[in-house]
């Protein structure tokens, strides 16, 4: 191989080969009750797109994700600033937040259901409980890593507290803030979908369980593929925003 392919082309090639191997393996050796080749999954996606219940379930999950993400970002930003901007609160509360972050929320899932019911609220609350910590931690860390020289020079040029916040601290915080958004997005996805799987009365979780128990792997894969596409899109959006808004950051 003299001339190397463009990395993106090579990547597509690898994905294509993986899909091909999956297709052949699933057709030859796979038990159709458990495994489904990608071609059938693709057909299933278009079939599912006509079913109102499934569309409603996907829309509901997207709504839960959106609300949970928005709440995580707003609350995480405010709390992160409160904790990060003051030396004393940082020293005292940062370890507490780290400890809470490391505590697995999954085991208090039944409590969320007891408190918020089995509807949308418990899924949103559970998603927020996962998403808020990465945002809070990266915001707190972002405002605390500001080189003192920037603050000193801004102050010596006569900037007041509001100007320092707006022109020094916020711009400096942006790259880590977007990293926090991305991590928060992944965490919210995990939280909301875990809650969906646990309380499978309606929504995506209901259908994944049903498709598994009635041995329709093509529909299960189709549903997962759609959600995966949504997740990857959201992730890429965050990555794009990250590079777009931190471009000035040499």
């Amino acid at each position: 191989m003299k001339r190397k392919l463009h990395p993106a082309t090579a990547r597509l090639g690898i994905i294509a080969i993986a899909l091909f191997v999956w297709e052949v393996a699933a057709r030859r050796f796979g038990d159709p009750l458990f495994m489904s080749p990608p071609s059938r999954v693709l057909v299933a996606i278009f079939q599912l797109a006509h079913e109102k219940e499934i569309l409603a379930a996907v829309a509901l999950t997207c709504w839960e994700l959106l609300v949970a993400f928005a709440l995580s970002v707003i609350m995480g930003l405010v709390l992160g600033l409160i904790v990060g901007l003051n030396r004393f609160t940082r020293g005292s509360m940062y370890p507490v937040i780290l400890l809470l972050y490391a505590t697995p929320q999954a085991m208090i899932l039944p409590l969320f259901v007891l408190t918020f019911g089995i509807g949308t609220a418990s899924k949103i609350a559970f998603g927020v409980s996962h998403g808020i910590f990465p945002v809070m931690l990266t915001v707190a860390a972002g405002v605390q890593n500001i080189p003192p020289i920037l603050l000193t020079s801004a102050r010596s040029m006569g900037a007041n507290r509001r100007q320092i916040l707006a022109s020094v601290i916020f711009p400096h915080m942006i790259p880590s803030f977007f990293t926090g958004l991305r991590l928060g997005m992944t965490a919210v996805l995990f939280g909301v979908l875990l809650a969906e799987l646990y309380v499978s009365q309606s929504g995506i979780g209901h259908f994944t369980t049903e498709f598994t128990q009635t041995f329709q792997p093509q529909n299960l894969f189709a549903l997962v593929a759609v959600l995966a596409a949504i997740a990857v899109t959201l992730n890429e959006l965050c990555r794009w925003a990250e590079s777009r808004f931190s471009r000035w950051h040499a």
Binding site: F88, S92, T103, P110, L114, T208, A231, N235
Partner: protein
């Protein structure tokens, strides 16, 4: 400095105290349904009896066993593949976005399928935990090894380091902090997903125990188990921090 550290500890203790006090006061007066938040005293009694009778052992053993296997699988495969990819800049460009993209996919949705493949026993939780923990490990291994400062590598090469010396004495120590971050994230994610999947579908393990107690409305005991799992998570975290500090000192 010392007195401000003391004040910070006091605030932390005060925070904990306020939570406990609020819990005690709200449950004492009977303002809250004991099914939602049981009185502090009964949770304490359940917790003590839990420790005394040692009835947590079977579930703890299952969960830790699943965690250990899942983490070893993820760490082994992740570092090996990450190391292989980091050998060539071209491979990094090809595989790094691929892994990052896969990492963004909520694998947890595949769990019903994992149960079909691996059964409802520990195997499906191990597989799920290993899958989820694999990605942070491989991503951090690749980025840690590929961003070692050029100067170190050139210096070592000009001093005639063999490939093996290069790896053990230059690459590994330089990339070590990043590698550890990946392993740490992997361990936490594996623990999280194992507990989570145990709550969804399982016959044993701490997550299953908590859900079962919750569904039987035995909330005092459920809270005792939750406190117990928080202690385990805390110990696990402390052990990782200890290993991290230890490893960094040994390599330095």
């Amino acid at each position: 400095m010392n007195s401000s550290r003391l004040a910070q500890r006091l605030v932390q203790l005060g925070f904990l105290g306020a939570v406990v006090l609020a819990w005690y006061l709200t449950t004492m007066q009977g303002h809250i349904n004991p099914l939602l938040l049981p009185p502090l005293g009964s949770v304490y009694r359940e917790f003590v009896s839990l420790l005394e009778t040692g009835q947590f052992w079977p579930d703890l053993r299952t969960t830790l066993y699943e965690l250990a296997i899942a983490f070893l699988l993820a760490a082994g495969a992740g570092t090996l593949i990450g190391y292989t990819v980091s050998r060539s800049g071209y491979a990094i460009k090809v595989f790094d976005p691929l892994f990052a993209g896969l990492y963004a996919i909520p694998t947890i949705l595949l769990f019903p399928l994992y149960v079909l493949f691996f059964g409802i026993g520990p195997a499906s939780k191990i597989a799920m935990g290993a899958t989820i923990a694999f990605f942070p490990v491989v991503l951090h291994t690749t980025s840690g090894l590929s961003y070692v400062k050029e100067a170190y590598v050139t210096a070592a090469r000009s001093m005639g380091a063999s490939p093996r010396q290069m790896f053990w004495n230059v690459m590994l120590p330089a990339a070590f902090p990043v590698l550890l971050t990946g392993l740490r994230m992997g361990l936490i994610l594996a623990f999280l997903s194992i507990l989570g999947t145990e709550t969804i579908a399982s016959f044993s393990g701490l997550g299953h125990q908590i859900v079962e107690l919750g569904e039987n409305m035995d909330t005092a005991k459920m809270f005792a188990y939750i406190v117990f799992v928080i202690c385990i998570a805390f110990l696990l975290n402390a052990a990782v921090s200890f290993a991290e500090a230890r490893g960094q000192r040994d390599l330095a």
